[in-house]
């Protein structure tokens, strides 16, 4: 899934030597890239196990004492949930400590006129109207908008509702319930929290479909996307 830390470090140390001369910019720092892939893996696990938890598995034969299939699925879901949550916290920390691109997914300048002009241009580009894409170093503005509203917000929502539901099982004297139990003040019947948590899964799935498609398309059209979340560099060609 991910490159080894040593190699990431090696890539990082090499940054100083890379010039701006050939149109290469260092965009995604090592912590952002590491988070991206760990997060992607966690989402994959959470999505699959979450769907299974929601729908149930085919009956296992034999004694109940001899099986723990659902228990393992739930364990995988909860573990991946912890990994994702801790990663998300570190990512927020890095948004404050890292370069300006690290902040992109948390802060969208909706109040700037030029932001909306660039969004408009990007829409025209994807609608095959514009001939040239916006030449961006980090995320393009349309992507930033989608990431913020479909990913960042949903992720926060999933962490909160996820821990609230986990708190139900852990008991109302657990820290999970103390910290996230307020979700049940909004939806007193936790069935609704389950329902929203399910909808959140589908928002993430939808986002992932679009994200992966757009990234591959961009890589083919301008050869500058996928490589940048691996190496951190983005090359602006032609």
């Amino acid at each position: 899934m991910d490159k080894s830390p040593q190699r990431l470090a090696a890539v990082d140390s090499a940054q100083a030597g890379r010039g701006v001369g050939r149109g290469v910019t260092y965009v995604y720092e090592a912590p952002v890239r590491l988070w991206h892939w760990v997060n992607a893996a966690a989402i994959l696990v959470l999505g699959v196990t979450g769907y299974l938890i929601g729908t149930g598995t085919p009956a296992m034969p034999g004694e109940a004492s001899g099986n723990l299939l659902f228990g393992y699925i739930r364990f995988a879901h909860f573990s991946a949930g912890y990994v994702l949550s801790v990663g998300f916290l570190l990512r927020i920390y890095w948004a404050l400590m890292g370069n300006s691109h690290a902040m992109q997914i948390f802060c969208v300048p909706l109040w700037r006129r030029c932001f909306w002009r660039e969004v408009y241009h990007e829409i025209r580009w994807y609608a095959f109207v514009a001939v040239e894409p916006e030449r961006h170093v980090g995320h393009n503005r349309l992507a930033q908008l989608a990431i913020f509203f479909m990913f960042t917000q949903t992720m926060t929502f999933m962490v909160v509702t996820g821990f609230a539901l986990y708190g139900q099982g852990a008991g109302d004297d657990s820290w999970q319930y103390a910290l996230f139990g307020w979700a049940f003040a909004i939806w007193p019947n936790s069935q609704d929290v389950h329902t929203w948590h399910h909808l959140g899964l589908w928002v993430i799935v939808t986002f992932a479909v679009v994200h992966i498609y757009v990234v591959i398309r961009e890589d083919i059209m301008s050869r500058r996307s996928i490589s940048s979340i691996i190496s951190g560099e983005r090359e602006l060609r032609d």
Partner: protein, 366 residues
């Protein structure tokens, strides 16, 4: 109705119950609360010295299933609860007095036990049309509720009606039926949800209040923690089948016969806070899951409006169609997937034509 100084013990002895039986009762009650061995004597002492707490039991929009459940309590027996423990001064369904005589008791209690009586409310008041959908003693029930709540010590909201609204508050709620805590906001309210609540939960709560003279610890939603701090799922005897991944698929399949988990049949145990799986019903005989049917979540907020009883996800009506989260999500993801595929196709075509165009353009000057 009785002297103010009347104690429980006095009443109990008058009914011919021996001191020995009295202590047995105290031990049993202490054990059912899960209290230590010394608590039995504390309870005995309280019952011997404390005056009985007057209880006024009002009925609003309801079906009387709470009363039906209450009178079937086995631990303590309802006769003990009703005739010895509390001074049930008013309950129009089961009291002997009627008409003006009955209504006079309300005024009497209100004046004589100011701030000392417990108001138990079964059902809820409808607020539309100035409360005309529920007339009780010639007046809208909401007025009676407000006036009796004013001087009460605390209010017990019996059942899902009084706690959440229940069936009469289900959409579209034509009468404007409203849970008690949204009508009375200045008194402590104990919610005892369930349709009906478990008999032993009801009498257990009454015993607690009369014994200790205070309200039990309540959870975030105002329910007594001792009965509503865990879900049906947490104490379910079929939980091992849930963890093992052994589920009933059809009502009459092999797995149903083996008593597997009813999760896939829409059992709401994992989202329902109640004591059914611990206390059970009818003197501990059974509870719905033990009888082979999933939990309906009757003690949770708005359980009539959450879609099918056999589906674990809430029905979403905002889209004009009745779908659950998975169906909507899958449709959305599918639509986006198709859009992406179409977009990819257009991109490919455009790229090919552009290339051909560019190649033609390049070859010209040569």
């Amino acid at each position: 109705m009785g002297e103010a100084t009347d104690t429980f013990y006095g009443v109990i002895r008058r009914q011919g119950i021996t001191r020995r039986s009295f202590h047995k009762f105290c031990s049993l009650t202490a054990a059912s609360f899960g209290l230590g061995p010394l608590a039995a004597s504390t309870i005995a002492n309280a019952l011997e010295t404390k005056p009985r707490v007057p209880v006024i039991w009002l009925h609003g929009l309801e079906c009387t299933c709470c009363s039906e459940s209450f009178i079937r309590s086995a631990h303590p027996l309802i006769k003990d609860a009703l005739l010895s423990m509390i001074s049930l001064d008013y309950d129009d369904t089961i009291m002997a007095a009627a008409g003006y005589q009955a209504e006079a008791i309300l005024e009497e209690t209100r004046a004589r036990y100011k701030g000392k009586y417990v108001l138990a409310v079964e059902g809820n008041p409808p607020l539309n049309e100035a409360g005309m959908f529920c007339i009780d003693g010639g007046k809208p029930f909401v007025e009676k509720l407000r006036s009796m709540a004013e001087e009460s010590m605390a209010i017990i909201a019996w059942g899902t009606c009084a706690s959440w609204g229940c069936v009469q508050a289900a959409k579209p709620n034509p009468t404007g039926a409203t849970p008690i805590d949204q009508v009375i906001t200045n008194k402590p309210i104990i919610k005892v949800p369930g349709c009906p609540p478990i008999a032993e939960v009801m009498t257990g709560l009454v015993t607690f209040i009369t014994t200790f003279g205070k309200l039990p610890e309540l959870d975030r939603q105002g329910r007594p923690k001792m009965f509503y701090s865990e879900r049906i799922h947490d104490k379910c005897y079929r939980r091992s089948h849930f963890d093992a991944g052994q589920f009933v698929e059809e009502w009459d399949d092999e797995c149903a016969r083996k008593g597997y988990c009813l999760y896939k049949m829409g059992c709401k145990g994992p989202t329902t806070y109640n004591a059914c799986s611990a206390v059970r019903w009818n003197g501990g005989v059974s509870f719905p899951i033990q009888s082979g049917h999933g939990c309906l979540s009757c003690s949770e907020d708005g359980f009539w409006d959450k879609g099918s009883f056999y589906d674990r996800l809430t029905t979403i009506r905002q889209f004009g169609i009745e779908k659950n989260a998975d169906q909507i999500g899958m449709a959305a993801a599918g639509a986006v997937g198709l859009t992406v595929a179409a977009h990819a196709a257009v991109t490919a075509v455009k790229r090919l034509t552009d290339k051909a165009h560019r190649a033609a353009h390049k070859s010209k000057p040569n």
